[in-house]
């Protein structure tokens, strides 16, 4: 499955590709991961409602597990780690689909694992031997795509813009790009790693004004072991980002597209406040804000949060 470059991606003249895109519904297996279904199911709900509404059909991938997260099997046993990835990828392969992923870590873990399996026949053999005992097999056909990639390249900002019922008029947004979709670009990139723009264009397609800031590309610091081993250091690190946001922008909301970015940028704000509400910028996953703009019920698609979202939601959907 081609992944890189505009021509390689579809192998068709642009105008034919555009027509095809209008006619066909893209179809993906929805890989849920762990955090989203367990802690932030409103994001799962938002994806399940909003993506089909813009032409991305989602199919359940039954029996998937943890991707595995880098702090689990990848930190303990490489063959076991690749076997878990291959287990998950094989579920998509059985259905003849690519998987679509929201969580940055899941995306990176699955995508790196697939590249390793494709480049190392010996490793693939070992992993398939492990899978065999469980009645599974992975050839390497099914790949993994991130939501931003699919929404930008398979759907396109234009189509999204025309589907919007409640535009983000008069709303200022700042963006947090998920690191795990940027590096290493050779294996998992779909945007320009040094100057990503797809998420910004997708947000602008909803009618919001996106304010740039100097630390826009700084990692949130919430993933992996940093926040777990040295939480206060991770908070200090995030403070630099929030100081830049406060100094340089006037945001109504922060838009992310990774479950860790979502949970961490909320938690850190709460901890930086220590009792006062000086820092209280609501954080949304892109699918949540898309779902709101498409007219879906905020109680279903944006109901769980640490930083209150009611006011900005009211501004978007209008007073009930």
């Amino acid at each position: 499955m081609p992944t890189d470059g505009d021509v390689g991606r579809h192998g068709l003249p642009d105008h034919l590709y555009e027509i095809g895109k209008q006619l066909t519904m893209a179809k993906f297996g929805l890989f849920l991961g762990c955090n989203m279904p367990a802690i932030r199911p409103d994001v799962e709900r938002a994806m399940r409602l909003a993506l089909p509404a813009v032409g991305v059909e989602l199919v359940d991938l039954e029996g998937c597990t943890c991707c595995p997260a880098f702090g689990t099997f990848p930190s303990a046993d490489e063959n076991a780690s690749l076997a878990v990835s291959a287990w998950n990828l094989s579920v998509a392969e059985e259905k003849g689909l690519d998987a679509i992923v929201q969580c940055g870590s899941c995306y990176s873990s699955l995508r790196l694992a697939r590249a390793k399996l494709l480049h190392d026949e010996e490793r693939k053999k070992i992993v398939n031997e492990l899978l065999k005992g469980a009645g599974k097999k992975y050839d390497g056909k099914s790949s993994v795509r991130h939501v931003i990639d699919v929404l930008y390249n398979d759907v396109g900002p234009q189509k999204i813009s025309s589907a919007v019922k409640k535009p983000l008029k008069g709303i200022n947004a700042v963006i947090q790009y998920p690191c795990h979709t940027r590096f290493p670009n050779e294996v998992l990139g779909f945007d320009n790693p040094g100057r990503p723009r797809m998420l910004q264009e997708l947000v602008e397609a909803l009618g919001a004004k996106v304010e740039s800031y100097s630390r826009e590309l700084q990692c949130c610091g919430g993933a992996g072991g940093f926040a777990r081993v040295a939480y206060q250091d991770a908070v200090k690190f995030a403070k630099k980002k929030f100081d830049a946001i406060k100094r340089e922008t006037h945001p109504d909301l922060i838009i992310v597209n990774c479950i860790t970015c979502l949970m961490h940028t909320e938690k850190v704000q709460k901890d930086l406040n220590k009792g006062n509400d000086e820092l209280s910028i609501p954080v949304f996953d892109y699918a949540q804000i898309l779902a709101l703009c498409l007219g879906f019920d905020p109680k279903e698609v944006a109901s769980i949060s640490v930083i209150p979202k009611d006011k900005v939601i009211e501004k978007i959907v209008g007073a009930a």
């Binding site: 802690i39 199911p41 998937c64 490489e78 063959n79 040295a230």
Partner: protein, 170 residues
Amino acid sequence: MIDLTKSNKNLWKEIMEEECGDIRHCFNCGTCVAGCPASEADNPLLIRRLVRMVLLGLEDKLLDDGTPWMCVTCTACEEMCPMGVKPFEVGLAIRRWQSRKDETYIPPAVCEVFETGHTQPVEKSKELRKSVGLDEVPPTVAKFPDLLKKFQKMLKETDIVKNNDYMFKE
């Protein structure tokens, strides 16, 4: 002073797996550190220092060093390394070596994934999921106990589970 006569000259061969780049190409430029969030911690993760320790064979020192576990996994280092060393993979390889040498390094989350298939208590979120209009149990392995059994059967054939079977409960 570091006494190199007592160092393990083959340490790099023990640690590096196929996934890593050739760490002998590292010339200690520090680009991996410059872009690393965890390098800003009070007790920082300095991946180039870890690479030096591996190359010099400082086994005991490396076994006592917990900083590889602070990696954010953003993988910026891998993008920026001018020598193709793949510092992110090096960090994970050091974690695996530590886990092999000293089982107390094995993260509890490894056992959780074995037991439930997930790192989060998916099965305990029924009410929350229902409140947003979703099925109480997601269609992951949490919903299919027979698949979880197969998943565990697969993992029981791996070294990590075989060598530490007392940690892994079904």
